[in-house]
């Protein structure tokens, strides 16, 4: 049986989906659009196989954004390449039925077999909401069940209903009579919904006092911004300080593995390939898994808790000054993990101009792939020193790099606002601020698991392939017998690097950096691994742990600072560019992003290098 979940945003649809399917989920895109398609599978008590699709949240079937269009088309059986669902399950937050009941009345016009599940029923009970379920079911003319998605066995009633519906298995007879509702029809439906609710549900006088108390601080004009900054501070603290022990453990594990290969295999090409190419290359990227998990953990926790909508509320006018929409805050915050989910999250912005601006600046947020590059250069060149008795100089430089990314993003947005897309009126900002909820550990775990898997797959495929390529380029052709120079000087890598180097000489980059920047196109963090491989083959010794020391002897401080400046903008990330092309549907915006980031990177490096040289850092 094919089932579809429909509901308003914040109805707990996704946690119900997770409760039903566990980790048996498939995440993909709908054909032709980049809306995430989440499908899962479960077996009912009677042993029936059910596939369930979690449709994007919507308040109506009008289809204002690509997300909402998918929901509408899917329910109506018009979605390309999709089966028409046998059963549409409308998910309601039991504490807040008004908007969902109206949506359900609209869904009835489609003629699909429908069911309503009153989710989070425990919370509603605790707040004193009582629902006459049989009466509600009779008034609506659809089966109604309750569920507590977060509790074990909380979906038992729903599973039983699913079995019942599946057992009937009568072909749908009703005709689709749905058409977009006008404002007055919408109003009439809402009245009807309110009438049914008044007859079947008794609401308590007391609203959720916890949410009100938390909001009194979190939405306070001054205290709220302090809280927001504190959250961001803790997030970055966690990423940089708390991940350290885990990263060191991973790093030394890869070192020992490399050493083991070095000791076991005879010296030669195979040993060099495994140790320098595979283990040190892929290992230097996998080391960053703890940081990526932490950054996604924080983002998922905030989302589940209900804080993200508050952050958008606080930032709306402030970001408006730079020509950004309040809703852009969430995609931009996600971009600190990776610009790809960030750019995909811009789908929640329904205004095209706001969305484009956000997409164009998302890659300027310092993504986690830049962390390896920053960490490497900072630890090699910036002394471990206290500043003002409170701050660590390395920490300050890192903070400065993040700040530079954010400021340049605001600057670019400001320029876009004034020079492009001028004939524009600010799009409205209307957003539900859901009641706070305790994050569901199960959902968070599933979310982190999917992302960690994606990262490791990337490390296993794209990054691995790049490392093999780099190793090959750096190892062949082999030096002539009795050559005096390091072997790498005779390689293809040196030839390519030296060809590109003159272009990069004004910003202080040598040919080894030029070699590293090229595969960095595939993934920014590969640059670190590539430098490791290039210098390891050049020096003929273990790379990963000593790469920092090697750099410190080979580069001037000015070169190091220049590379840091380059990476604030770092135009090279093929996956980001591909996502921009897909999301904007145009090569033009992709080319524009690449060009403006390249120009900024070159200009920033040029300025940094020359200023540093003038100050004697050469």
């Amino acid at each position: 049986m094919h089932m579809a979940l429909v509901g308003t945003p914040n109805s707990g649809k996704t946690s119900l989906f997770n409760a039903l399917t566990g980790s048996k989920q498939k995440v993909a895109n709908y054909p032709g659009v980049t809306v995430e398609r989440k499908e899962g599978f479960f077996v009912t008590p009677n042993g029936r196989q059910v596939s369930v699709v979690d449709l994007p949240g919507t308040y109506s079937l009008r289809g204002r954004s690509p997300d909402e269009e998918i929901t509408r088309d899917f329910v109506l059986g018009r979605a390309k390449g999709e089966v028409t669902p046998d059963f549409v399950l409308c998910v309601a937050d039991s504490t807040n039925l008004r908007l969902t009941i109206r949506l359900l009345l609209e869904l009835k016009a489609t003629g699909r077999p429908l069911g309503l599940v009153l989710n989070m029923f425990d919370i509603a009970k605790r707040r004193g909401v009582t629902v006459d379920v049989p009466k509600l079911s009779a008034s609506l003319g659809v089966p109604v069940v309750t569920s507590i998605a977060v509790r074990k066995g909380g979906t038992a009633e729903l599973l039983r209903l699913t079995d019942e519906i599946a057992a009937q298995a009568q072909p749908q007879t009703k005709q689709n009579q749905w058409r977009p509702l006008s404002a007055s029809e919408l109003r009439a439906t809402q009245r009807e919904a309110d009438r049914i609710i008044a007859a079947c549900v008794s609401l308590p006088a007391r609203p959720d006092t916890w949410s009100a108390k938390i909001d009194a601080v979190v939405l306070h004009p001054v205290a709220g911004l302090v809280v927001l900054l504190a959250i961001l501070f803790v997030m970055f603290q966690a990423v940089f300080a708390w991940a350290q022990p885990l990263m060191e453990a991973l790093s030394s594990a890869f070192d020992s593995l490399g050493q083991f290969v070095h000791d076991t295999l005879p010296a030669g090409l195979l040993q060099s390939f495994l140790q320098n190419g595979v283990i040190s290359g892929v290992g230097s990227v996998i080391v960053f898994l703890p940081q990526i998990i932490i950054i996604f953990l924080v983002i998922l926790l905030l989302e589940d808790f209900g804080y993200m909508a508050r952050a958008a509320f606080l930032m709306d006018r402030i970001m408006g000054g730079a020509g950004l929409h309040g809703r852009a805050f969430i995609p931009l915050l996600s971009s600190f993990a990776c610009a790809i989910p960030g750019i995909m999250a811009t789908r929640v912005i329904d205004n095209r101009r706001d969305r484009l601006t956000t997409i164009l600046i998302a890659p300027l947020m310092t993504c986690s792939a830049r962390i390896p590059v920053y960490t490497l250069i900072i630890s090699a060149f910036i002394p471990e020193k206290e500043v003002g008795g409170l701050f660590n100089l390395r920490g300050l430089v890192m903070f400065g790099l993040y700040a530079a990314g954010i400021l340049s993003a605001l600057g670019v947005s400001f320029v876009i606002k004034f020079f492009m897309l001028r004939d524009y009126q600010p799009a409205p900002f209307m957003l539900e601020l859901p009641d706070y909820k305790l994050p569901r550990l199960n959902s968070i775990a599933i979310g982190i698991y999917t992302r960690a898997k994606m990262f490791l797959q990337r490390a296993g495929t794209t990054i691995f392939a790049m490392m093999v390529l780099i190793w090959f380029l750096a190892s062949f052709p082999q030096p002539p017998a009795g050559a005096a120079d390091p072997a790498i000087n005779y390689s293809l890598a040196a030839i390519i690097g030296k060809a590109v180097a003159p272009l990069l000489a004004p910003v202080g980059f040598n040919w080894q950096i030029a070699v590293a920047l090229i595969p960095g196109m595939a993934a920014r963090e590969v640059a670190v691994a590539a430098l490791g491989t290039v210098y390891a083959i050049e020096g003929g010794k273990e790379a990963a742990e000593q790469i920092g020391q090697v750099l410190a002897t080979k580069w001037s401080l000015a070169t190091a600072l220049s590379l840091l400046a380059w990476y604030i903008f770092a135009p090279q990330c093929a996956s980001t560019l591909a996502v921009i092309k897909r999301e904007t549907g145009s090569w033009k915006w992709m080319a524009l992003t690449f060009a403006y980031m390249l120009a900024l990177a070159y200009a920033a490096s040029l300025a940094t290098y020359n200023v540093a040289m003038a100050l004697g850092a050469g």
């Binding site: 009100a212 939405l219 004009p221 006018r317 600010p426 601020l433």
Partner: protein, 99 residues
């Protein structure tokens, strides 16, 4: 939007019997009388604005309360609409006539 708010502050004897929600101060409690999408300088067409407001629960007779305001220009506002909280800019809230 600050100017709009100042106008509301200067109105004689507090607040008039009917006013746009966009002009109401924090702490204001009232009931929605009607929607007047034509009176808001929103980027959305009137019909669309009206539909979106209804979808979020802004319908005649609903109880509204302004719970919070943003730091710049007291904008946006967080409005309790019956038992839901909605964030909205004052510009769009001008279409909601309350009393």
């Amino acid at each position: 939007m600050t100017e709009l708010h100042d106008i509301a502050q200067q109105l004689p004897s507090g607040l008039p019997s009917e006013l746009p929600l966009g002009l109401a101060p924090r702490g204001y409690v009232g009931t929605i009388h009607r929607l007047a999408a034509g009176e808001a300088a929103s980027a959305l067409p009137h019909d669309e604005l009206e539909s979106r407001l209804i979808e979020l629960g802004f319908v005649e007779g609903a109880r509204v309360e302004i719970l919070h305001e943003g730091i710049l220009g007291r904008d946006p506002i967080a409005v309790r609409v019956d038992n839901v909280t909605i964030a909205i800019r004052r510009r769009e809230a001008m279409a909601i006539i309350v009393g």
